[in-house]
Structures are given as structure tokens and as C-alpha cells.
Amino acid sequence: MEQLKFDYPSAVRPVTKRAHVGVVGSGDMEVLMQPAETGAAQVSILTSVNGFGASWKAVMDRFFAKYDGAVRIDINDAGATPGSVMLRLEQAVEVIEK
């Protein structure tokens, strides 16, 4: 069990909606995406797999290289691969930006 937190202070475009996608099943995860109270993007991850902090940071850096919404992201993870993580994030964005 590992808790990871990342900040993306340059992602400040206001969002109004919120999204919940995914399920905490084996090899999958859930994402809660909602407007950040601080006005800039924040990510909080709770994962059952230890030792992959660098991979999480790489996926999040890549996600926020394209996405600029001021979102608070909460993730509960049961071993999703980096590809699945990115797909779940993009799915949540689809809901929020719809």
C-alpha cells in the first residue's frame, strides 16, 4: 500500500463538472475527477502495489503535458498498468469536458 501525491501548479483552467470512472478490480482502478479547491491540479493516488512511484509520476507528467484543467484527481488503484491508467484518465476527461 502506497500513497503518492503530485501537484501540477500550471494546470489552472477552471472546470465545473466531476467524473467517476473505473472500478478497483484486479488490474484496474477508479478515478474521481472534480474541480480543485486550490485552483490548480492536484493528484492523490492510493495503490496496492508498492515501488512504482516513478512510473506514476511519468504517466501523470505525460497526462498534464496535454491537459490543463484545474482538477483534483483521487485514484484508488488495484494494479492498473500505465496504459490502463492513461485510458481511465482520458475517460474521466471525456466526462468532464462533455
Binding site: 500500500m1 467517476h20 472500478v23 474521481l32 496496492s48 484508488n76
Partner: protein, 291 residues
């Protein structure tokens, strides 16, 4: 030739099993009538799972919707089979019990409120031990209280099925709707094999398991009420039918003498085959459920 006449119905249907718990729940309510109670953004999670290195879920695998079905006030409680096999923990159990008890309160105050339970569950969440056992006892008490006023309808769609203490909760409900893919049983096949050996029950023998626990057999025996296809529209129609039907004349679980006599009459000197059991049990003497 139009596309609809070429593509067979089983391809065009909307699978219910492929939906997650929240989408299943939403597909059964009257459109626009419902709201979710204690949803994922409330983040009421299990405090016990992270202590054991297991990621929790923001709704603890339990979705509660309040609204109407067929125009009648209904609360719908769905368990997510993909999260910890739909097991009942302290939080998910408290959500289910509270929703059932509020429906009972509304019913007592003149607003009859039915309950629909979508049960995909292995029963108690072992990581939450006695708390899991306690909430299942509470769920049963809450079903018994509500079914005095309004029907409690259990839907088991699959593919987890309904086992353990929650199979008793299913048995207490007014009606049970199952698909061919669904299973209902007290002990899961793996548990029986583990405790009594592979000669007793081979949990890898799917034909054997479905012949005993499967929806076709359970409805055939008269211990469940309706067998439906894995089709969201058909399952919605069945649930609407039972919400409108109201209470059964006599709940199945009150027919103690009937089932005692049936069990006493079984010839256990030889292996009972599922088809024979179906033929001898599904007689017209069954007063509850199937109408």
C-alpha cells in the same frame, strides 16, 4: 433487407452483465426519477482494507439509488461484483441496511417503497470479519421488516452470482430474478471442494455447478421466480412487473412445512439428478413468488 432483420436479436440486445453496478442500477430506474445516495464523491470508504494493503473503493462497492420504477417509489441497491467480489463490508452493509430501513420508514408513513437488490456477491468480506457478519444479519433483519409493507426484489445477473450469507438475504426477498449465467447457492463451489474434497464437488466442472447453482435450475426448482435473458430491457421489464405486483400471497421463506416435507421426501440413497429435482419440486403447490 434492413439491418435489423439481418442482425439476430441476441446480437442487438443490450447486455446487462457487461454493465458495472452503477450502470446496471441506473438502467432499471425510471429515467430522470432517481438520485444517488452516499455516492463515490462522498468517499465513505472501508477503513479496514488499507490496513491490510488492499485499495478501497470510494463507494465501497455499493450503489444506492432512490427514485421510481414503473412510477412506484423504489430504492435500488447494487453490489459491484468486480470490487472484492461484491463482498459485504462494514460500509457497504451499512449503506444497504440504512437504505432498506429508510424504505421501511417511508412505507410505514404511507409512502410504500419497494426495494430492488442487485446481488453480485460472495457474501461476507473476510477482511472485515465480524463486522461483515454483523451487517449481513442486519440486512436480513431489514429485509424482513420492509417485506411486511412492500416487495423486496432480488436480481442475480452474474457473473459473480450470490453466495454465502447474502444467498440467505436473497432467499428472504419477495421475488428472485435470475439469468442463465447467474448462480445462487449457500456455499460457493470452491468452498465446498476445499472443505469436503473434489469427490464431493468439482469446482472446475462448470456444467455440474450450473446444473446445481445456475439460474435455470434455481427457477426450475421454484426457489427463484423468473429466468431472464442477459438483456437490460428484459430485466427492466421483469423488475417493473414485480414492483407493480406488490407483495406475494405468501413469502417463500415462510413456507417452512412445504420445504421440510420436500426435503424429507428426497431419496438420498442414490445421487439425485438436477432435472428430477426440478420436476418434483416445481409443483403448483408453491404459493409464493411465481405468478
Amino acid at each position: 433487407m434492413s439491418a435489423t432483420s439481418v442482425i439476430p436479436a441476441f446480437v442487438r440486445r443490450h447486455s446487462f452483465i457487461e454493465l458495472d453496478a452503477r450502470a446496471r442500477a441506473q438502467s432499471l430506474m425510471d429515467p430522470g426519477s432517481w438520485r444517488e445516495l452516499v455516492g463515490p464523491f462522498d468517499q465513505i470508504e472501508s477503513p479496514w482494507l488499507p490496513m491490510q494493503g488492499i485499495a478501497p473503493q470510494s463507494d465501497d462497492g455499493c450503489v444506492v439509488l432512490k427514485g421510481t420504477i414503473a412510477g412506484k417509489p423504489t430504492v435500488l441497491i447494487a453490489l459491484e461484483g468486480k470490487f472484492q467480489a461484491g463482498s459485504m463490508g462494514e460500509v457497504s452493509g451499512a449503506k444497504m441496511t440504512a437504505a432498506l430501513d429508510l424504505a421501511t420508514q417511508d412505507s410505514q408513513n404511507g409512502k410504500k417503497t419497494a426495494a430492488v437488490l442487485l446481488l453480485e456477491t460472495g457474501g461476507v468480506r473476510l477482511q472485515e470479519a465480524n463486522l461483515g457478519l454483523a451487517v449481513i444479519a442486519e440486512v436480513m433483519a431489514s429485509i424482513l421488516a420492509l417485506r411486511e409493507h412492500a416487495p423486496v426484489i432480488t436480481v442475480i445477473a452474474g457473473t459473480v452470482g450470490c453466495f454465502g450469507g447474502m444467498s440467505i438475504a436473497a432467499g428472504l426477498s419477495s421475488y428472485i430474478v435470475m439469468t442463465v449465467e447467474a448462480r445462487l447457492g449457500l456455499n460457493g463451489p470452491e468452498v465446498i471442494e476445499q472443505e469436503s474434497g473434489i469427490e464431493e464437488f468439482d469446482s472446475s466442472d462448470k456444467a455440474l455447478i450450473w446444473a446445481i447453482n445456475g439460474g435455470e435450475q434455481r427457477v426450475g426448482m421454484g426457489v427463484a421466480d423468473e429466468l431472464v435473458l442477459d438483456d437490460a430491457e428484459k430485466i427492466a421489464a421483469s423488475v417493473q412487473h414485480y414492483v407493480k405486483a406488490g407483495l406475494p400471497r405468501l413469502h417463500r421463506s415462510k413456507q417452512v412445512e412445504l420445504y421440510r416435507e420436500r426435503i424429507a421426501a428426497l431419496d438420498t440413497s442414490q445421487q439425485i439428478d438436477p432435472l428430477t429435482l426440478r420436476e418434483s419440486w416445481n409443483s403448483k403447490t408453491n404459493q409464493g413468488g411465481a405468478r
